[in-house]
């Protein structure tokens, strides 16, 4: 059984007259998505995918790709321009309240009620899901303990730190014990420790059968957390794969930047067996290798033999965009 099925899902934004006048562009990638003089923004453009019951499904893409817009459509905030959303086989918009009853959502921006305490926030959300008072309190306290907020449960949440607010948001989304949990960039902006706690807890809930749909622009987070990853760029789905395959794709592009004290010969470097390609960029050499370890060792040998000195070495992490380009263009771009 699929938890979520999405067919042809599309969201176009038409800027209001005021925005048109101001010529307000939210995002550079926007321009390319505008169409003609009526300047429609194609935030999400005819996408299809399925999320299986019980999996952690990642939605990966750079800024402005359309991740938040997609999640806002799946959770009933935005009405799609086109397309269909099925939640456990039932059309979402036929009965949104029924569908929302089994979903939880952690939005991109923190939005707890600042003037309510942690406990009051949770109790209020529980009420909206029709949970009885006794059950509400006990569930809230359990969650607060689990997320290490119990001590601060009577503190107004405007006094919470960012990490605490994010954890409270998660508690709010979990209050109803949802079948599907939507997370929009759950760890962005958090320190390492908070994000480790959150990632672990998300995994725990998933092990107990909760389906998770999460967006991120961080490939490593997606690889670490997800069973399958959909990649979205400029409103279009450009790939859907397992983390293993994605990792391979990333590893295919391994490079080292070498800064030497003297000029080296590009052709000689390129003749090394583990080197794929050498580009001289300003004062350093961008060397693409087959294998990082072998490559570095071989280059060091070469350096010794030529009496060169190394000023600085950087190993090179490909950006998400580069992997995307590779996916879209089949790698010809490099």
């Amino acid at each position: 059984m699929n938890a979520i099925v999405v067919r042809n899902l599309t969201k176009y934004f038409t800027p209001s007259k005021k925005e048109k006048k101001k010529g307000r562009a939210r995002n550079p990638s926007l321009e390319s998505r505008k169409q003609g003089n009526n300047s429609i923004i194609r935030a999400v453009d005819h996408i299809d995918f399925e999320v299986k019951n019980g999996e952690i499904f990642g939605f990966l893409g750079p800024n402005g790709a359309g991740k938040t817009t997609t999640i806002r459509m799946l959770t009933g905030i935005l009405k799609p321009t086109n397309g269909e959303i099925l939640i456990f086989g039932q059309n979402f918009w036929n009965n949104p309240i029924k569908a929302k009853q089994i979903m939880g959502h952690v939005p991109e921006e923190a939005n707890v009620y600042m003037d309510l305490t942690g406990l009051e926030n949770l109790s209020f959300i529980g009420e909206l899901y029709g949970i009885s008072k006794k059950e509400r309190i006990s569930r809230a306290e359990q969650l607060l303990k689990k997320f290490e907020l119990f001590e601060k449960r009577h503190l107004k949440s405007k006094k919470y730190s960012k990490g605490m607010k994010q954890r409270l948001l998660l508690c709010m989304a979990l209050m109803s014990n949802p079948k599907i949990l939507f997370l929009d960039e759950p760890t962005s902006g958090l320190d390492v420790q908070s994000s480790i706690i959150i990632k672990k807890l998300i995994k725990d809930y998933n092990k107990n059968g909760m389906t998770i749909f999460m967006t991120t622009h961080d490939m490593d987070v997606a690889n670490e957390m997800c069973d399958r990853i959909a990649i979205i760029n400029r409103g279009k789905l450009i790939g859907l794969d397992t983390p293993e395959n994605l990792k391979k794709l990333k590893q295919e592009y391994q490079a080292v930047d070498f800064y030497f004290t003297k000029e080296a010969k590009e052709s000689e470097l390129e003749n090394l067996s583990s080197v794929k390609e050498v580009r001289k960029i300003r004062d350093y050499y961008h060397i693409i290798v087959h294998d990082l370890n072998d490559g570095i060792c071989e280059i060091i040998e070469y350096i010794k033999s030529k009496n060169l000195k190394v000023k600085k070495i950087n190993t090179y992490e490909p950006h998400l965009e580069e992997v995307f380009l590779k996916m879209v263009n089949g790698g010809d771009d490099y």
Partner: protein, 264 residues
Amino acid sequence: MRISKEVFGVKGSKKLGLTVQLRRAAAIAQKDLRIYYNKPPVIVQGIIFPVILFFTFTIGRKIPTPLLISGLMAMVIFLTATSIGPFVFPWETMRKTFERLITCPVSVKTILFGSMLSSFLFGVIFSLVPLVLGIIFFSLQITINFLIILIAMFLAAFVFSSFSLILSAPPTDMPGNIMIFTLLLKFTILFLSPLFMPIRDHPLAWISPLTYFVDIVNVSLGLESAFGHYGILIDFAILSFFGVFFLFLAFMLHKKTLQKRFRN
């Protein structure tokens, strides 16, 4: 089908009935009251304005006691019932808590109804104050028909809390914008209303819904209705009409502006 029943719960359809949505609306109203009762715009418009306006209107004038009480009650119920409502939506749009509400299993009507309920309660509670004061200070001088006044209060609170929903419809995320616009509208209505004066002396009084509330209170305090022998029935009918009309208009406007609240 069986699977979906398992997922959505057997009680699925029953759980989403009217009473359930009403209970959730009550939760929203309670939240609104708890969060917004002490916000500056609410205090200023709901409590300070009525007091200041009361003295502006009445100081140095000889006003018969019933008109004093009816005028004060009308002003208080109007200003308090419209003080929370227009503030909640832009505030929650700004703070992004509105998005949070929408993802919960409540309909837009439930959210609107909850917001209206908070305005309603705020209005009723505060207009009890002048009523009680009136009774304490003037109880010996006048006869009061309590039941009618109470029913009229509920009706007026309904009318003006619906009205406050209309004021909250523009999809702005800047509470300040709404405040200026609502203040202008509210003052216009106040000056169109025959407060602290005989209704017949005000040429445009029939336009304002407040007029009909004032008339009911006047009659309950022993004065004659400005609208003839069955005037009080006319008052109730017209007030009800205003209430239903405002509510209908508010639902329509909110439906239109809802999606614009999520423009980042």
